[in-house]
Amino acid sequence: MPPKYQGVDFYNVDGLLSEEERAVRDTVRGWVDDHLMPIIGDAYVAGKFPRQLIPGMAELGLFGANLPEEYGCAGLNNVAYGLIMQELERGDSGVRSFASVQGALVMYPIYAFGSDDQKMKWLPPMAGGTVIGCFGLTEPDYGSNPAGMITVAKETKDGWTLNGAKMWITNGSTAQVAIIWAKIGAKDDQNSIRGFLVPTDTKGFSAKDQKGKLSLRASDTSELVLQDVHLPKDALLPKSAGLKSPLMCLTQARYGISWGAVGAAMACYDEAVSYAKNLIMFGKPIGGFQLQQARLAEMLTEITKAQLLCLQLGRLKDAGTMTPQQVSLAKRNNVSMATDIAREARRLLGANGILAEYQAMRHLANLESVYTYEGTHDVHTLVLGQEITGLSAFE
């Protein structure tokens, strides 16, 4: 049996965590070891989200774990929530994405923008994993620029009628409920964007899996079509108001991604170290060669920096002072460094590195998506550019 995964902690960052935060992390780590790691390689190759994991994740309390207990959630702080994302993505970015979408992109907007009735109706079954959600913001022609969306909601005498299409929607074909963002006003009025709760069995709603993905293969990604979807009045999230509402959701999700990427990087580093110590070439372990040592030293350095970045970001979030720009910096840095580490780990593993039996190539392929989704690396660069100079590159 290979030695159990011990994480990576060169700077005793554990010492900065509370007892509960460590306990949460260890629980999720153990669960990932026992339930996710044995099946993820096959699920990835088969191109299937491992649905059988949902009840176990729900039982642990992983969905919306930072939301209050009154809705059946665990009521954790944001550092503990981040550590959950880190450990899930140590397993696979697709499985972490599933949890991110459920918690940060569907449960969070219901919690933040929903009525009391909506919260009581949807949050407990979502925490319990019996209702799965998806988040429909991105459209075929409006990715980095969601303000341009053309999905519309027209008010009728007894409710709303939605028309439009959404693309790159994680959990789209699995979900029982979709949060759909649509304009209730003029086409160029981003302030008229509102969120709607759409049960996916509503007439006129359809979801189709996007085929041919070479990344995030253990995750469902779908295209949604809304054709004259009639909804009752109370489908509207009453407190959603303009583009800033979906952007607030993305800030939540990006926060989790910043942690998740560190988990993927830690997995790749761990695998690379063990491989470098064991593979004998030219009569000694390849870890004894300077080229591999340089690779490993670089990986450990970047992981350690990213861990500290996440932790402080989490403390800011718990203090209520975190800004979206700080999240942009962490998402941009951490996903980029994780992608680089996955690539270097893949190379260190030589030919074995291309096999599904090892983790590096799977993480590398996944991270290419993570690099692009939830605000591309480039968009986050421009967010920071604007923050620094006060000049927007978008307008």
Partner: protein, 250 residues
């Protein structure tokens, strides 16, 4: 059903331990500590017994330093109702002292069952459970891999060399848990949060001197590198000779 579970904080078996400068203890710096895995089976079993009975209490009891509280919170997060820490500077080398302190705490409290792990993975002494039973005047079944309770009678299965031994006993009794007894649950996140609010009583105690002392700890000797005696069938006689005369295993 009222159940006490005796638990211990031990170094994670995955941790590389170092011997401290005094040559008789472990250097705890950087060592990760866990709930003794056999005690985890005991906690899980207690929780299942309580659930099956529909009512009762599961109390975890540990002996050790203040840091043992973190380990106790793991058991509380799994679902135990409360904890009692008998706080000492260190866990004594003499299991009899530990058993005596635990017995003093557990005596006359009306337990239906007292559960322990069959062994703590750090000192591997296997002593505390049976000693505790003796001190309390209770029957004891060690290394139990299956447990059934019907009213006032328990039936336990023990895995013994080449078979299974089935033991019947009256309760209350002391049971020590072996691997296979159950599959311990993960402490759910809500359980971890709830554990913070559960009562954990810390009671400083003074132990007797004991009669066992640790004189020295030494790591096992490095294994010598293997030797290839030859290849194919031609090497067999030399291999047999080496196994018989050098390794003395044949």
């Amino acid at each position: 059903m009222k159940i006490a579970v005796c638990i211990k904080r031990v170094p994670d078996s995955e941790t590389r331990v170092k011997i401290a400068a005094d040559g008789k203890s472990l250097d705890e710096a950087g060592v990760k500590f866990i709930l003794n895995p056999y005690d985890e089976f005991a906690v899980e079993e207690a929780l299942r017994r309580k659930d099956a009975a529909g009512a009762g209490e599961v109390v975890v009891i540990a002996l050790g330093g203040a840091a043992a509280q973190e380990t106790m919170r793991t058991a509380l997060a799994m679902g135990a109702d409360r904890g009692v820490l008998l706080q000492t500077d260190a866990v004594p080398a003499d299991g009899f002292e530990t058993a005596t302190a635990l017995a003093a705490e557990l005596k006359d409290k009306g337990w239906d069952l007292i559960l322990c792990g069959k062994v703590a993975i750090d000192d591997s002494s296997h002593q505390v459970g049976p000693m505790l039973a003796e001190l309390l005047g209770l029957p004891c079944v060690t290394a139990v891999a299956k447990l059934t309770i019907n009213g006032a009678t328990g039936v336990a299965e023990r895995e013994i060399e080449g078979g299974v031994e089935v033991v019947e006993f009256p309760i209350p009794a002391v049971i020590t848990a072996d691997k296979g007894l159950n599959e311990p649950r993960y402490p759910a996140l809500k359980g971890i949060m709830a554990a913070k609010k559960k009562p954990l009583e810390v009671r400083p105690i003074t132990l007797g001197a004991g009669v066992i002392q640790i004189l020295a700890l030494t790591p096992p000797p490095e294994r010598k590198e293997g030797r290839i005696v030859g290849e194919g069938a031609a090497a067999v006689p030399e291999l047999v000779r080496a196994l018989r005369e050098e390794a003395k295993v044949l």
